[in-house]
C-alpha cells in the first residue's frame, strides 16, 4: 500500500485493490468469529446454569431474533426486523444511555470537590465549559461562550495535540517492532 501511494501505476493499483478487497473479506470473517465466540460463551453459561444465566438466554434470544427476522423477512420498512429495531432496540439503548445523565449529575455533585489546585482548575474549567456551551450561558453573559471557546481552543487543544503526537509516535514504534519481528506476542510468543 505504501508502494502504491508513492508510485501509482496499474500493477500497484491492482495490488492495492486486491489488498483492500481481502481486508474486507477477512473483516467479515472476523465478525463471524466474534458472533460464534459470543454465542459459545453464552450457551456455556446457560448449559452450566451459572448465576445470572437468564441474561445469557436473553442475549442469545436477541441475537437469534434479529438474525432470523432479517434473513426471513428482510430489512425493508414494515418488516419484523425494523419493528424490533424501532420498538425494542432503539428505546432500550437510548434509555440506558440517558440514565447516565442522572448518575453523572449525582457523581459530579459528590466527587467534584476543589480539594487541591489541580482539582480546582479542572472544576472551574468544567463549570465554565458546561455553562458556556449551552444557550443559557450566552443568555446570562456573553463572556461565558467566549471563555468556554478559549478553554476548548487553547488549553484543551494543547493537551489533545500532545495526546495525538504521543499516540502517533507509539503507533509508529509498535508498527516498526511488528514489521521488524521484534514484537511477536501477537503470534502467541513472548
Amino acid at each position: 500500500m505504501l508502494f502504491q501511494f508513492f508510485i501509482p501505476s496499474r500493477p500497484s493499483v491492482r495490488a492495492y485493490e486486491m489488498v483492500v478487497d481481502w481486508t474486507q473479506t477477512i473483516a467479515i470473517f472476523t465478525l463471524l468469529v466474534g458472533i460464534t465466540g459470543m454465542l459459545k460463551y453464552n450457551l456455556e453459561k446457560v448449559s452450566r446454569k451459572k448465576s445470572g444465566y437468564g441474561y445469557n438466554i436473553v442475549t442469545i434470544a436477541g441475537v437469534l431474533a434479529m438474525a432470523l427476522t432479517g434473513l426471513i423477512w428482510g430489512r425493508s420498512e414494515g418488516t419484523p426486523f425494523v419493528w424490533i429495531f424501532d420498538h425494542v432496540q432503539s428505546p432500550m439503548q437510548a434509555t440506558v444511555f440517558s440514565l447516565l445523565s442522572f448518575f453523572v449529575a449525582s457523581s459530579a455533585y459528590r466527587g467534584f470537590k476543589a480539594r487541591n489546585t489541580e482539582a480546582t482548575l479542572l472544576l472551574v474549567a468544567a463549570l465554565l465549559v458546561m455553562i458556556g456551551r449551552v444557550p443559557i450561558g450566552d443568555f446570562i453573559s456573553s463572556y461565558f461562550p467566549k471563555i468556554a471557546n478559549w478553554i476548548l481552543d487553547v488549553p484543551s487543544m494543547t493537551a489533545r495535540r500532545g495526546i495525538f503526537i504521543g499516540i502517533a509516535l507509539g503507533t509508529i514504534a509498535t508498527s516498526l517492532r511488528v514489521i521488524l519481528g521484534v514484537e511477536r506476542t501477537y503470534l502467541g510468543r513472548s
Binding site: 439503548q93 449551552v134 489533545r160
Partner: protein, 273 residues
C-alpha cells in the same frame, strides 16, 4: 445535622428527581432560548451552500441507537439543507446499527421533499472494516458496495452512474458518536484530498478541534447545540431547538449542585479544623 452537612450530602434520589424536572419542564412547555451560531457550524453550512446544485455529498452514519436523540436532529437538519439545495446524497454506514439508522433518516427526510431513491439519494448500507472500505471507495465505490441497501446493483442506479469514486463527490459528512471521522480525515482527506465535516456528539467535539484549527476538516457540527444552530440556519426549528432548553437547564442545575456541594465541603472543613 446542620445546614452545611445537609448541603454536602443531598440524597442522590433528590438529585435524580431535580434533574428529571429540569429536563421535562422545558420539553413540556416548549421553552426556546436564543442560540448563537458558532463558526464551525456556520462553516459547514457555508460549504454546502457553496456547492453547485446537483453536487454529490457522501454522508456516513457511524453511530448506534444509544445516541439517537443527539444525532438524529443533526442528521435530519443536514439532509434537509442538502435536499433544499438540490444536491444528491450517498449514504454509508460503518457500524451495523448505522445501516438501519441511516436508511430511516433518508426515508424520513426524502418523504418531506418527495424525492426518489436511486435518483436523488442512494443508501448503500453497512460495511465492516472502515479503513479498507474508505480506501477502496477512493478507487471504486462499486467494488466496496456492489449493491445498495435494497439489494439493487449499483450499475442499475441512475445516481451511481455518475459517481465512480471520491473524484465525483463534493463533501464527506461523518455522522458519528465514535472516532470514525478520524478514518475519514486520515484516509479520504489526507490521501484523496476530499473535504470532510464531522457531525459528532458533544463529548467527541474536543477530539476534532485540532483538525479544525489545521483546516483538515472544513467545519464541524458537534452535539445537540450545533444541531439546534443548524436548525436555526435552515430556518426549520426541530427537536434540537427544543432540546437545547432542557439541556441548558440541566447544565445549570448540575453547576449549582457542584457549587452547593463545594460550599458545604469547605464550610465543614473549616468547622472541623
Amino acid at each position: 445535622m446542620n445546614f452545611w452537612q445537609r448541603a454536602s450530602s443531598i440524597d442522590r434520589r433528590i438529585i435524580f428527581i431535580l434533574l428529571f424536572i429540569a429536563v421535562v419542564i422545558p420539553l413540556i412547555f416548549n421553552f426556546k432560548l436564543p442560540n448563537r451560531v458558532t463558526k464551525e457550524v456556520q462553516a459547514v453550512y457555508d460549504y454546502i451552500e457553496s456547492l453547485p446544485p446537483g453536487s454529490v455529498i457522501l454522508m456516513s452514519f457511524d453511530h448506534d441507537t444509544a445516541t439517537l436523540p443527539e444525532m438524529t436532529p443533526m442528521a435530519r437538519a443536514l439532509l434537509r439543507h442538502i435536499f433544499t439545495k438540490g444536491e444528491k446524497v450517498i449514504g454509508t454506514a460503518f457500524l451495523a446499527e448505522g445501516a438501519a439508522i441511516g436508511n430511516k433518516a433518508f426515508k424520513f427526510v426524502s418523504d418531506e421533499f418527495g424525492l426518489k431513491e436511486g435518483e436523488d439519494y442512494v443508501f448503500l448500507g453497512y460495511r465492516p472494516e472502515i479503513s479498507s472500505a474508505i480506501l477502496g471507495m477512493g478507487e471504486n465505490i462499486a467494488r466496496v458496495y456492489p449493491k445498495d441497501y435494497r439489494g439493487v446493483p449499483l450499475a442499475d442506479i441512475p445516481l451511481m452512474q455518475q459517481v465512480k469514486n471520491y473524484r465525483d463527490i463534493g463533501l464527506i459528512i461523518s455522522v458519528s458518536d465514535n472516532d470514525s471521522p478520524n478514518a475519514w480525515i486520515n484516509l479520504a482527506n489526507a490521501r484523496y484530498h476530499k473535504p470532510v465535516a464531522p457531525a459528532v456528539t458533544a463529548v467527541m467535539a474536543t477530539t476534532y478541534y485540532p483538525f479544525l484549527q489545521e483546516k483538515q476538516i472544513i467545519g464541524m457540527v458537534p452535539g445537540l447545540k450545533a444541531a439546534a444552530e443548524y436548525e436555526q440556519l435552515i430556518n426549520k426549528p426541530g427537536t434540537a431547538t427544543v432540546g437545547m432548553a432542557a439541556q441548558s437547564i440541566a447544565h445549570l442545575l448540575i453547576v449549582l449542585l457542584v457549587i452547593v456541594g463545594n460550599i458545604g465541603y469547605f464550610m465543614l472543613k473549616r468547622r472541623n479544623a
